[in-house]
């Protein structure tokens, strides 16, 4: 059977701006796929195309086996969508929204009511069910949005920046929920995020998107090891900077770093740190601070685009 | 004013639409027994009221803007600046006046192009513009008082329908003499009637100092009441701010 998400040269332009530029991807059954990129990279645009909300200007996409343009209704029956701005009506209560969703997906009344109860419990909103959604906190709204997207047990779940703006506890809770959905029900999950940790923690495979194009793709592990060497970061005083740089670059290629700091990719891997420290000591250079990091997705991003993702370390 | 056409364009659109429609569909109304003027077109009859209506629609703008300023604390900044208290109020009223003059001027010009006749010539035209603009200021001052009292743009804008009602229940669109019952008596006692009637006489019959005096007199009475309340509300707001 076909893969649940397949995109071939999918593109979308808004006037002169190419928001999404010829992306190709294929997500397998039961996979959690992450779309990682900074704000404005084109993640939401791509998701809107895959969820039939936006027409591509060129290219094709098939979700759950159906073309998103030609067979949109069939796609909609089989996908669940939780977008960046929780798509809710603030004047309705949680219960009412769930019941409406049941009607929208053709669930018969009895089983629909049972389903609503289950879902509210699952996302921990049973007590808030009769309150107007306008009174919910940001985290509660996202959880309700997730519940709404699950009403009809979709084969494919699309989550657009599901934890942006949430506090750490809510974020963890949502990650747990996504994991259990994927493991218990085998739901294929397509999630977009600007948070490296989120992609690293949840996704089995990641595509890094920048300026509308996919610049890297693969499992987090393979992406990181492709970048190669771990990053060694050393802080020195400003007048020792150049000398330190000369020493360190003998042991590996320089990487972007902030002021008064030199970063290199350690060619020999982690054991090589002693060589570097010895060499710096021999030259009489005082080290204020040392960090050794295995490559992170941030390094992958920096390697692919020459920039750090927002919030990444340099 | 140039930056936000949507604030004054409807103010021009509706009075013009109404004037166009009424002059056509009620053209024979002038033949009704008891109609106070002879040999006039209905357009000439409604012209002064339409001009006043157009200007009044815009008068809520200055009050609405003031409420918006209060809402977003621009007012607080003004209050701590060395600008004199009275001038804050006067500035708003002056801009409302200018607004009114321009709008009335545009409306009269459009009406003239469409064949309206102002018997009193230039003096009457100037009088109409003056009366309309001053009326806008005096009614606007009540709006400003409400803005100062409530600080809410929504409340100010919800008073707009009241102006609409007040114009209707007057001699604006039809002679009060031809109205009946309790409706007619309310219309007769409406100060707007006492303003519109002399204005209309100047448009249809001819310019007259007496008519101008009557209109301006009543407007001044309204204005002094409105401005007085506004000043008191401004003082209250200042007291609260300190």
């Amino acid at each position: 059977m076909e893969n649940p998400i397949v995109a071939v040269d999918l593109s979308r332009a808004f006037g002169d701006i190419q928001a999404v530029d010829s992306i190709n991807l294929s997500v397998s059954h039961g996979e959690v796929f992450g779309f990682l990129g900074p704000n404005g990279a084109g993640k939401s645009t791509a998701v809107r195309m895959l969820t039939t909300l936006l027409k591509p200007t060129s290219g094709t996409a098939c979700v759950a086996g159906f073309d998103v343009v030609k067979k949109a209704p069939s796609v909609r029956k089989r996908i669940g969508v939780a977008l960046q701005d929780a798509a809710i009506d603030p004047l309705m209560t949680g219960n009412e929204l769930l019941r409406l969703q049941c009607v929208l997906h053709g669930l018969p009344k009895r089983s629909g009511e049972k389903r609503c109860k289950e879902l509210l419990e699952r996302v921990g909103l049973t007590l808030a069910g009769d309150r107007r959604v306008g009174t919910y906190s940001g985290g509660m709204r996202r959880r309700l949005d997730l519940a709404l997207s699950l009403v009809h047990e979709p084969e494919v779940l699309f989550l657009d920046e599901p934890t942006t703006g949430l506090d750490p506890t809510s974020r963890m809770a949502l990650w747990e929920e996504v994991r259990s959905l994927n493991q218990e029900l085998g739901t294929t999950v397509f999630l977009t995020t600007q948070y490296l940790e989120e992609a690293d923690q949840l996704a089995e495979r990641i595509a890094i998107i920048d300026n509308g194009k996919i610049v890297r793709e693969g499992t987090p592990t393979s992406l990181k090891s492709a970048v190669g060497a771990p990053t060694l970061r050393i802080d020195v005083s400003e007048d020792s900077l150049e000398a330190a740089r000369k020493v360190m670059t003998r042991f590996g290629e320089e990487r972007p770093a902030r002021r008064n700091r030199i970063a290199i990719g350690l060619d020999r891997g982690t054991p090589g740190i002693t060589d570097v420290m010895k060499a710096l000591e021999e030259d009489g250079l005082e080290v204020h601070h040392v960090e050794l990091d295995e490559p992170s997705l941030d390094d992958v991003f920096a390697d692919a685009t020459g920039r750090r993702l927002e919030g990444g370390q340099a | 004013m140039l930056r936000q056409p949507q604030s004054w364009a409807p103010g021009l659109f509706f009075p013009l639409l109404l004037a166009a429609v009424y002059s056509s569909q009620f053209s024979k109304a002038v033949d009704i027994a008891g109609f106070p003027f002879q040999n006039v077109s209905f357009l000439d009859f409604v012209l002064p009221a339409c001009v006043i209506q157009g200007v009044l629609f815009g008068s809520t703008n200055s009050a609405s803007d003031l409420a918006a300023d209060i809402e977003n604390s621009f007012m607080d900044r003004l209050l701590v600046s060395p600008v004199s208290r009275a001038s804050i109020l006067l500035a708003r009223l002056a801009s409302a006046f200018m607004y009114g003059v321009v709008q009335a001027g545009i409306l009269i010009t459009i009406f003239l192009i469409f064949g309206a006749n102002i018997a009193g010539g230039l003096p009457s035209m100037i009088s109409i513009v003056l009366i309309a603009a001053l009326l806008a200021v005096s009614i606007g001052s009540f709006g400003i008082a409400i803005a100062l009292r409530t600080g809410s743009q929504e409340v100010v804008q919800s008073t707009f329908p009241l102006i609409f009602v007040a114009i209707f229940v007057s001699s604006a669109f039809f002679p009060v003499q031809l109205m009946e019952g309790w409706y007619g008596s309310i219309a007769q006692k409406n100060p707007l009637t006492w303003i519109i009637d002399p204005t209309r006489r100047m448009a249809i019959v001819g310019f007259s100092w007496k008519d101008l005096g009557q209109s301006l007199g009543i407007i001044s009475a309204i204005a002094s009441l409105g401005i007085g309340i506004s000043i008191r509300q401004l003082r209250r707001r200042l007291a609260r701010a300190q």
């Binding site: 909300l53 409406l100 009809h152 | 409807p10 009620f26 024979k28 039809f174």
Partner: protein, 263 residues
């Protein structure tokens, strides 16, 4: 248990849910209703009062202005209620809830139907309010009997639906609440450029020609006939044809503009 093989959502159920949703909104925000009731009630009082003596002229077929003006006020109230559909759609578009409706496996006409159904049901309130004021306060008469009242409600409901569909098309195009103002201008023009306040014989000039071809004219006549005399097929038929024609036209308009909601 998998729900992905559930039956296609019944369009009727979706429309019904849409109407219920509209009504629960009304209950939670009652201030929404107030202008749409007060405006037409004011119109019937003001027009019957200010223009009381207009019926002395030829063509009005009645000796009480209220008998002439009530239909006009009903039409205004119905049309204004119709705009409520656009208001709800615009709010949904602005806060993102519309995405949820679009991504559900339902026919677009079901979404549109729910919105229009809501404003049609809502229109019943101002129509009834106007009738109560007209008969209770202003001594209106209905020689046309029950059938006359049927005509009033029929034309009012039809007008509400037509205005609703029209404004939806505009809102789908601009996707903001402010675009309702454009709909308002069209609505007022369509209403005023017809026989709302005067019979066609009394109107002269360019307005006469416009009113003569304006389909709203036939609808207003159909609404008004019971107040002036018997309800006849010769007046009802053109009204029904006008309503049907405008409904079809505005439905197509709304459906076409819906396709362009592509954001």
């Amino acid at each position: 248990m998998s729900y992905t093989n559930a039956a296609d959502a019944s369009s009727i159920a979706v429309v019904y849910a849409g109407i219920l949703r509209g009504f629960s909104r009304m209950r939670r925000l009652p201030s929404l209703m107030i202008p749409s009731i007060l405006m037409p009630v004011f119109f019937v009082i003001a027009f019957s009062g200010s223009f009381a003596s207009i019926v002395e002229l030829d063509g009005y077929e009645t000796d009480k202005a209220v008998n002439w003006m009530t239909a006009w006020a009903v039409m205004q109230g119905a049309a204004f209620s119709g705009m409520g559909a656009g208001g709800l759609a615009a709010t949904d578009l602005e806060n993102g809830f519309f995405d949820r409706l679009r991504v559900a496996p339902i026919r677009p006409m079901a979404i549109i139907g729910g919105l229009v159904g809501y404003c049609v049901c809502r229109a019943l309130i101002p129509i009834t309010a106007v009738l109560i004021v007209a008969f209770g306060l202003l001594h209106a008469e209905m020689p046309g009997g029950i059938l006359g009242f049927v005509m009033v409600y029929l034309s009012g409901i039809g007008m509400a639906a037509i205005m609703g569909l029209f404004v939806l098309g505009i809102v789908f195009t601009f996707r903001t609440l402010k675009s309702l103002a454009i709909g308002q201008i069209f609505m007022f023009s369509a209403m005023f450029l017809s026989v709302g306040q005067a019979p066609i014989q009394a109107i002269d000039g360019w307005l006469h020609n416009v009113a003569a071809v304006n389909p709203v004219t036939n609808v207003i006549r159909m609404c008004r006939q019971g107040f002036l005399g018997e309800v006849t097929w010769s007046v009802t038929q053109p009204g029904l044809i006008a309503l049907a024609g405008m409904m079809i036209g505005t439905s197509i308009w709304a459906r076409i503009r819906y396709k362009k909601v592509d954001i």
